[in-house]
């Protein structure tokens, strides 16, 4: 039995208590039976430059384990949740990409939760060797009308010069819970980009950390929709360790009905991260006055010779744009959906699979227009 009563997504430093953002406190117990996930969830790759397997296949992992930098660092939505994902999982993928390999075809992982398989606890490890390049697409969705549960962890090791793009799409139904913890080790001159589409679940809690070594680069492009009574808690942390490292956090969202969202974005310039640059920006389009939207951008500097900035966030929809679009025959809801779609499109276009791009756009329309009428 899984029972969660926890403080999640704690801030690296506690801000004033009255802001009520230091962590998300679960206001209900989530109880779920632990059971196996008996579905295929990844595609085999017909490529000698990559080995991919289920996380439980110890042999494959041991083969490469010596190459993994086993840095002990706390990460994720909470210690307990990460412990569950790392040690008591029922799914997960281990992928190893050989030196210099350029894997064109995205590695596709898909957790389609259904009545028999409504619990996914996944532990994923991606190792990209020196100067290799790969893209991983993970899709979490519900196929039946169920109360699904997902708690996952992903570790990404990008060796010097490697480039990894991880795309995570979460479109589980409104009865489900989603917890997702990610950490990337971005070694010298490596690059890890994280694209997140957070459209579903009653409660979606995600956490992402990038550890940036010399010349490491990392970006997060995140889009989210909160509607009805859904809750989102998004935490992103760019940890600049090395010199000349670069980070970028770009979050765009739309909130309607009574949805709640907390965004925490931290850029941390550690001592020795001179000449590094980090920027973050969040913009959210607010449909209804009844939503709650909080943003906590943090800039931590132990190093002087760095450049950090956060862009101001905008809330209200541009009335002139709305009038222009409506004058072409679109209802207010359709016009607002169009403005959201327009703002999300540059991120959606980064999804390298057309079927998933279409699914995401349909889901956007469904969340912002169709569900309106229910």
């Amino acid at each position: 039995m899984i029972v969660i009563k926890d403080e999640l997504n704690s801030l690296p430093i506690k801000t004033y208590r009255w802001l009520n953002v230091n962590h998300l406190k679960l206001d209900e117990r989530i109880e779920k039976d632990r059971k196996p996930f008996c579905k295929r969830f990844f595609e085999e790759m017909d490529d000698d430059n990559i080995s991919i397997g289920s996380i439980n296949n110890i042999v494959t992992i041991n083969q490469h384990l010596s190459r993994i930098n086993n840095e002990k660092q706390e990460y994720g939505v909470s210690g307990k949740m990460v412990d569950m994902a790392e040690n008591f999982n029922n799914a997960g993928v281990y992928a190893y990409i050989k030196k210099g390999a350029d894997i064109e075809k995205p590695i596709r992982i898909e957790y389609g939760m259904d009545r028999e398989n409504d619990v996914v606890i996944d532990n994923n490890i991606i190792v990209a060797s020196e100067n290799s390049r790969a893209t991983i697409v993970v899709d979490y969705c519900t196929l039946d009308d169920i109360d699904a549960f997902h708690n996952g962890a992903m570790k990404i090791y990008a060796k010097p010069g490697a480039a990894v793009t991880v795309i995570k799409i979460q479109r589980m139904n409104d009865n489900s819970n989603h917890f997702d913890s990610n950490i990337a080790v971005v070694e010298d001159g490596a690059e890890v980009n994280f694209i997140q589409v957070e459209f579903g679940s009653k409660r979606a809690v995600t956490n992402y950390i990038s550890n940036l070594k010399d010349g490491g680069k990392s970006a997060i492009y995140s889009i989210y929709i909160g509607n009805r009574d859904r809750e989102l808690d998004l935490s992103y942390y760019m940890n600049h360790i090395g010199r000349r490292s670069i980070s970028n956090i770009e979050v765009k969202g739309a909130l309607k009905d009574r949805a709640k969202k907390v965004f925490k974005g931290t850029i941390d310039f550690k001592l020795g991260s001179s000449k590094s640059e980090g920027r973050e920006g969040e913009s959210v389009i607010i449909f209804d006055k009844t939503v709650k939207s909080k943003a906590v951008p943090l800039l931590l500097c132990t190093e002087d010779d760095v450049k950090g900035e956060h862009a101001a966030s905008s809330g209200k929809i541009d009335e002139d744009k709305l009038f222009y679009i409506m004058s072409r025959g679109f209802s207010k809801e359709e016009a607002m959906k169009l403005i959201v779609e327009a703002s999300f499109n540059p991120v959606i276009d980064r999804i390298p699979l057309e079927d998933l791009r279409d699914i995401v756009r349909d889901e956007l329309a469904r969340k912002l227009i169709v569900e309106e009428r229910i």
Binding site: K321, F323, M326, S327, R328, G329, S331, E334, F344, P346
Partner: protein, 252 residues
């Protein structure tokens, strides 16, 4: 009884229209009648209320009608939503068109056409029509895939407005200074587009400062809008008055 019969026959009827923006009254008792298939020109000094009239006909919520009535095909428009007006065949070419990054010209216009006609339109079928209209307006084909108005020059934005006019084919088109800031060749192309749209079914209101556009279009009526009212109406010969004297003699 008699009044309502007259109103039903008229295409557009504006009666004693008073409009406020913020605390300021901009239209102050404006009257105007337009029949099906007519081309009307509205001229007037800066700040007279020409764009205000266009916006209030389209239903911009920033503008508040405090008195008077707009009757279109027998329906009172005063409180009607913007998109409902568009669906009834009203269109405004904006003096300052908005940029909509993230949505291509083609997708925007196909969706708009489907919204207005309330039926699906096949992608291929639409592509063909769009290509034709773009050719007429001497727009490069690749503009169909550009984000709507984003990074368009002033002239390109105005062409994009006329492209939208041609695709949506409204019964009442209001062109707010569509010819302003365009060079002679661009004005010719815009005029060609408007002429293509002109028909016995379609009425057009042209707001302009220049008579360049008018040379090509043969308007039926010319009106002077000064200080929020129509102060003079007549045929195309009125333009000569503006050319010679401006609007000074109409101000109080």
């Amino acid at each position: 009884m008699i009044r309502s019969m007259v109103m039903e026959n008229k295409f557009l009827l504006i009666r004693d229209l008073h409009v406020k923006v913020g605390d300021k009254e901009i239209l102050r008792g404006l009257n105007l009648d337009i029949n099906r298939g007519e081309v009307h020109v509205i001229m007037g000094p800066n700040g007279a209320g020409k764009s205000t009239l266009a916006n209030v006909l389209m239903g911009n919520p920033k503008y508040e009608i405090t008195k008077g009535e707009i009757v279109y095909e027998g329906k009172v428009l005063n409180d009607m939503k913007v998109d409902e007006r568009a669906k009834l065949g009203i269109f405004m070419s904006f003096q300052y068109p908005e940029e909509i990054p993230g949505i291509t010209v083609e997708n925007f216009l196909r969706s708009a056409k489907m919204a207005i006609e309330d039926k699906p339109i096949k992608v291929m079928e639409f592509k063909k029509v769009l290509k034709e209209k773009m050719k007429l307006l001497e727009m490069k084909e690749e503009y169909a895939q550009r984000y709507l108005n984003e990074g368009f020059s002033g002239g390109e934005k105005k062409k994009s407005e006329i492209l939208q006019l041609l695709i949506l084919n409204p019964k009442l088109a209001i062109l707010d200074e569509t010819d302003s800031g365009l060079d002679v060749d661009a004005v010719k192309i815009v005029a060609k587009g408007v002429k293509e749209h002109k028909s016995e079914e379609n009425s057009i209101i042209i707001i302009t400062h220049h008579n360049n556009l008018l040379e090509y279009l043969n308007p039926d009526y010319v009106h002077f809008l000064v200080d929020g009212r129509i102060v003079k109406s007549g045929d195309i010969s009125l333009i000569d008055i503006v050319e010679k004297e401006g609007f000074e003699s109409f101000k109080n």
